[in-house]
Amino acid sequence: MRSELELYGVNPGISDQLHVWGWEIPVYLFLGGLAAGLMVLSGASVLTGRTERWRFTNSVGPLIGFVALVVGMGALFLDLEYKLHVFRFYTAFKVASPMSWGSWILVLVFPAMLLGAFSFGTWRRPIAILNVVLGSALGIYTGILLGALGARPFWNSGVLGPLFLASGISAAAALIHMAAGSEDERRALAKVDVVALGIEAVLLALLVIQLATGGEASRRAADLVLGGPFTAPFWVLVVLLGIVLPLVIQGLAIARRIHHTAWGPALVLFGGLALRTVIVYAGQVSEWRGY
C-alpha cells in the first residue's frame, strides 16, 4: 500500500479517466484512412503506368473514398459539442494545430478525389501526384494530431502517422481486392495488401517497443496492452484478427494454396477499425499521473 489519492471535485470523463472521444473518432479515423489509402493507390496506379490494368483503383476507388469520407466527416461532426460552430474550423488556419491542418486537408481532398476519378489525358499525371500527396497527408495527419497530444503518453510516437497511413492503404487495397471487376487487378491488390499489412505490423511492433522502453509514463502506457485492460482487444482483435490472420490467408491465396475469398479483406477492414478503436480508447486512458 504505497499511495492513496482522493479527489474532492471531479469532472466525470476527465478526472478519473479521460473519455471525451467515443466511437465517432475511430470511425472517422478508419473511413479517413480508407479514403486516404484509396487516394494514394489511385494516384500510384497512374504514376506506375497501371492506369488501364487497375481501372477500378483509379476510377471507382476515389469515388468510394469520397463517400467514405463524407460518412467519416459526419461522424466527426457528431462528435462536436458545439455543432453550430463547425464553420469556425474554416475561419482560421492555425499552423501549429494538426487539427486545423486536418480540417483544411479535408476540404482539399474532395475535389482531388473527384478529379482523380474523372481525370484523363495529360491531366492524369499531375492529378495522380496530387492524390498521392493529399492522400498521404490525409492518412498521416491524424497520427500527427494524436502524437502532438503529449498529455497522452500512449500516443507519444512518430510512428502513429505512418502506421495509420499503412493501415489505410491496406484497408483500401483490401476493399479493392474484394470489389474490383478484373481478376488481375484483384490479385495485384492482394499483393499490395500483404505488403501494407507487413509494414503495418512492423510499425505497430515499433510503437509498442518504443513505448515499453521509454520513460515511466510511457512504460505505463505500454502496459495498457501488455497485461493491462487493453491487452485482449489489442492482441486478439487488432494483431491476430486484423493483421496476422489476413496476412496468412492472403499470403496463402497469393501463393495459390487456397482460393481468394472475402475473408482476408474483411478481416483487414475489421482490423483497421479495431486498431483505431484501441488506440483512441487506450490513449485517453493513458496519462502522466502515476496512480
Partner: protein
C-alpha cells in the same frame, strides 16, 4: 443541468423590501461592472455550522449570487469554508419545506397535508393548552440547535416549561465544559477561547482541526503550524491535523486518559510545570501528584500503544513551550462515558502549563454587551424541576440533557412529557439508539418540528413548520465572548421563499396563538434589533454597512484570573467531585476492547459537511456524496473486504446500516473503523442525501452515560461486515 425551482412571485413585496432596504442602509449597491446587473451586498452570518462566520451575501434581483466572508468579523477574518460558500445551495434546494403541514398518516409515514400558518398556530396552541391542562406545562420539552433555539426557549419559558435541551450538550461538548468548569470554574462554550495561533505547542486529543472546519480554529492552526509551533496529535486515525504534526500518536481507542495521566506524571515528576502559576492559582497539587504517581510512561505505553520514550519527549517539549501551550479542549467529547474526567485531565494539564489567561493557551475573553429590550412580563415559575435530572440525578450538569429528556418521555419518570418541539436538530440521527427515540415519540401527544428540509424527524412529526434559511431572515446579534469582542448582524438577503418564516416569526405566531402575546412586544425582529442596538449604543447604520462592530481592544489574557470554583482557585483536586462520590483526581479505567472479529466504530467530521444537515446541498454533496468506511489493510484482509467494495456493517447488537464503500487505507489502526458522521439518511424527501453512504447513527445502539452530567459516550459500538 440547473434544477428548476418553483417560487411564489413576491415581485411587489420584494421590490418594496429592496427599496426599504436601500433606504434603511441595509445594503449597499456594488460598483457596477460593465454590463453586469447591479448587486446589493447584505451582511449576514453563516448558519451552516456553529461558528457563525460573518459574511456578505451578494444579491442580484432576488437571487443570492455569491457569498463572501466579512473581513470585519474576527472569527473568520474575511474567509468562508466550503459550507459557507455553499449557502446558496440551501436557499435553492428544491427539496426545501415550503408550507406548514399536518400529519395525515401514521407517524413516520411521511404523509402530510399542507395547512396555513393560522391553522398550524391555532391547532398547536390548542394542543399545548390541552396538555398543560392535563399534565402541566412541564410536559412540553424543547430540543433545539442553532440560532432559532433562543426564540423557542423564550416561548417555552413564557409557557411555563423548564424543559429545554440542546443535543450539543449531552451528545457533544457537555462533558468537556463540565470538566473545565470543575477545574477552572468556567465551561468553555462556543467559540472556544483558544489562542491557537500564538501557541508554541499544541496537543490535540482526537481533535481533527482542518477536517473539523470551525473556521478560525483551522485558520489559527495553520498559522501556528506555519510559525513553527510543535504539534502532537493523539488519534487512532492519521487525520489532516496529524499530517501537520511533529508527533502522531496513534493511541489505542479509549486510552487517551492513560496518555494524559502519563503526561501529567512526567511533568510533575521532572518538575516541568509552571511552579509560580500553580502555587499562586491552584490547589490540590499534592493530591494530584499522589494520584498520578504510578501513571508513568511505561504504564501508559502498555495501555496506549505509544512508546514511553515518545510520551516523555512530548511532555518535555510541551513544557519547554509553556505557557504558550494549548491542550486543545476538543469539542465533541462524548466518547466512552468517563469523558468529564478526561476533560478534567486536559484541564489539569493546561493548569500545570500555566496556560490559562495567557497568550497561546486558553483565554478569558469578554463579550460586547447587547441589551435585552422589552418590556415583557417575568417568566412564570415552573412547578417542577426539569425532567432530565440536570443538577440532581446528574449533579454536574449545568444545561439540559437531551438524552435524559428523551428517557423521561419514554418512561414517564419523573413525570410524563407529552409534547416535543424540535427546532434545528434532527433527533433521529442525533440521539444515540434511534429505537429509544422512536419509543419516546410513541408516547407523545404532540410532536412539532421546525426545519428547513424534510429530515428524518420531520417524517415523525404531527406538525411541520417550515423555517426559512439564514439568508432569508434577521436573527439575534451574534456577540460571543472572544479575544476580539464584536457584535455581528444578520440581515435578510432575500425574502423568505414559498410560505416559510423565520423562527422568530414562528415563535411570535405560536406565542400569540397561545395567548402569550405579552412576551412578544415587537411586531418584527427588525424592530427588536433596532431597539437593542439603540439600547446598547451600537450604530445601526454602521452595523448594516460593515456587518459587525468590533471592539478596539483585544482581550482575553490576564495575570489575575478569577476562578469561580468552591475554593476560588484552580482545583487540581476537586472536593466537590469527592463529595458527590466521584474521583476527585482523574483516574484511568480500561475501556473494554472490541470483541473478537469486531472493530470499534469511530466517527468524525469532513470539512465539506456539517453532521447530517448538508448532504442534500448541491455543492457539498458533489464534493462528498457518500462517506466511506476507513479500514486498515490488515483488518480488511481478515474481513475479506476489498477497497471500493460496498459492505453492510453490523454492530454488536446486530444493528445494520446502508451499505458503505470500503476505503482500505494505511491511515487508521486495525482495531477501529472510521466514517464521516451524518450520512446514510433515510429521508426520501431529501433526494440527494437519501440512502447515500452509511449512518454511524444507525450503528450507535449502545451508549455509556457519564454519571457526572449525563453525557452519552457513543464510541462504544463495535462493527464488522454483516454476516447475514
Amino acid at each position: 443541468m440547473r434544477l428548476e425551482i418553483k417560487r411564489r412571485t413576491f415581485l411587489a413585496g420584494s421590490m418594496a423590501a429592496a427599496a426599504a432596504a436601500l433606504v434603511s442602509g441595509c445594503s449597499r449597491p456594488l460598483q457596477n461592472v460593465a454590463g453586469a446587473p447591479a448587486r446589493r451586498r447584505v451582511p449576514t452570518y453563516c448558519e451552516v455550522c456553529f461558528w457563525k462566520c460573518g459574511a456578505f451575501a451578494h444579491v442580484v434581483g432576488d437571487e443570492v449570487v455569491f457569498l463572501e466572508g466579512n473581513p470585519a468579523t474576527p472569527i473568520n477574518n474575511g474567509r468562508l469554508c466550503a459550507r459557507g460558500n455553499a449557502g446558496v445551495g440551501f436557499l435553492n434546494d428544491p427539496d426545501r419545506l415550503r408550507c406548514p403541514m399536518r400529519r395525515t398518516g401514521p407517524r413516520g409515514s411521511g404523509k402530510f397535508e399542507e395547512i396555513s400558518w393560522d391553522e398550524a398556530n391555532a391547532e398547536i396552541a390548542a394542543k399545548l393548552q390541552e396538555i398543560a391542562g392535563v399534565h402541566g406545562p412541564e410536559a412540553v420539552a424543547l430540543f433545539f440547535h442553532g440560532s432559532a433555539g433562543k426564540y423557542f426557549t423564550h416561548l417555552l419559558k413564557a409557557y411555563g416549561s423548564p424543559n429545554f435541551a440542546q443535543p450539543s450538550y449531552a451528545q457533544c461538548r457537555g462533558p468537556r465544559d463540565e470538566g473545565y468548569r470543575l477545574t477552572f470554574g468556567t465551561g468553555l462554550g462556543s467559540p472556544e477561547p483558544t489562542d491557537i495561533e500564538n501557541a508554541r505547542f499544541i496537543l490535540l486529543i482526537g481533535s481533527h482541526l482542518g477536517e473539523n472546519m470551525h473556521l478560525l480554529q483551522a485558520q489559527e492552526f495553520s498559522e501556528a503550524v506555519a510559525r513553527g509551533a510543535h504539534v502532537a496529535v493523539a488519534d487512532p486515525r492519521f487525520s489532516v491535523a496529524a499530517s501537520k504534526a511533529r508527533w502522531w500518536l496513534p493511541v489505542r481507542p479509549g486510552s487517551d486518559q492513560a496518555l494524559l495521566l502519563a503526561l501529567i506524571h512526567v511533568v510533575l515528576e521532572e518538575g516541568l510545570y509552571d511552579r509560580e502559576f500553580v502555587e499562586r492559582h491552584a490547589i490540590g497539587l499534592e493530591e494530584l501528584r499522589a494520584g498520578v504517581k504510578d501513571k508513568d510512561p511505561e504504564w501508559a505505553e502498555f495501555r496506549t500503544d505509544i512508546r514511553a520514550a515518545t510520551i516523555r519527549e512530548v511532555a518535555r517539549e510541551m513544557a519547554k513551550a509553556k505557557p504558550a501551550v494549548l491542550i486543545h479542549p476538543g469539542r465533541h467529547a462524548t466518547w466512552y462515558g468517563n469523558d468529564v474526567q478526561r476533560a478534567r485531565a486536559m484541564a489539569i494539564l493546561t493548569a500545570l502549563m500555566g496556560a490559562w489567561g495567557r497568550e497561546g493557551g486558553i483565554l478569558v475573553p469578554h463579550a460586547m454587551k447587547v441589551a435585552k429590550v422589552g418590556p415583557m412580563p417575568a417568566y412564570p415559575e415552573s412547578n417542577r424541576p426539569p425532567a432530565d435530572g440536570a443538577g440532581t440525578k446528574f449533579p454536574f450538569a449545568t444545561d439540559g440533557i437531551a438524552s435524559e429528556m428523551r428517557e423521561a418521555t419514554r418512561t414517564g419518570d419523573p413525570y410524563p412529557v407529552k409534547a416535543w418541539i424540535v427546532s434545528g436538530t434532527n433527533l433521529i440521527k442525533t440521539l444515540p439508539n434511534t429505537a429509544e427515540t422512536l419509543e419516546a415519540i410513541a408516547k407523545l401527544d404532540l410532536l412539532v418540528s421546525v426545519d428547513i428540509l424534510p429530515s428524518e424527524i420531520v417524517a415523525h412529526s404531527d406538525y411541520v413548520l417550515p423555517e426559512c434559511t439564514y439568508l432569508e431572515r434577521w436573527d439575534a446579534f451574534n456577540n460571543p465572548a472572544f479575544k476580539r469582542p464584536f457584535v455581528a448582524v444578520r440581515a435578510p438577503a432575500v425574502d423568505p421563499r414559498f410560505d416559510t418564516r423565520s423562527a422568530w416569526d414562528i415563535a411570535l405566531g405560536l406565542g400569540q396563538a397561545m395567548g402569550l402575546g405579552a412576551y412578544f412586544p415587537f411586531a418584527t425582529q427588525e424592530d427588536e434589533l433596532r431597539e437593542q442596538a439603540k439600547a446598547s449604543g451600537l450604530d445601526w447604520d454602521a452595523l448594516l454597512r460593515d456587518g459587525a462592530i468590533v471592539a478596539r481592544e483585544t482581550g482575553g489574557t490576564t495575570e489575575s484570573p478569577v476562578f469561580d470554583t468552591p475554593s476560588g482557585k484552580i482545583e487540581l483536586f476537586s472536593r466537590q467531585l469527592l463529595d458527590a462520590g466521584f474521583d476527585p483526581v482523574p483516574l484511568f479505567y480500561e475501556t473494554p476492547p472490541p470483541p473478537d472479529g469486531f472493530a470499534r466504530l469511530i466517527y468524525g467530521r469532513a470539512p465539506m459537511h456539517s453532521f447530517g444537515r448538508t448532504q442534500n446541498n448541491r455543492y457539498l454533496s458533489e464534493l462528498m456524496a457518500e462517506n466511506a468506511a476507513w479500514i486498515a489493510p490488515g483488518l480488511a484482509e481478515r474481513w475479506g473486504v476489498r477497497d471500493g467494495q460496498k459492505v453492510v456493517l453490523e454492530n454488536q447488537d446486530g444493528a445494520t446500516t446502508t451499505a458503505v464503500r470500503v476505503r482500505v487505507t494505511e491511515r487508521i489502526r486495525e482495531d477501529a473503523v472510521y466514517m464521516v458522521n451524518g450520512f446514510g439518511h433515510h429521508a426520501p424527501g431529501m433526494r440527494r442525501a437519501d440512502e447515500r453512504g452509511a449512518a454511524d447513527s444507525d450503528l450507535i445502539t449502545r451508549y455509556e452515560v457519564d454519571p457526572h452530567m449525563g453525557g452519552t459516550g457513543m464510541r462504544v459500538n463495535f462493527v464488522r461486515p454483516a454476516t447475514a
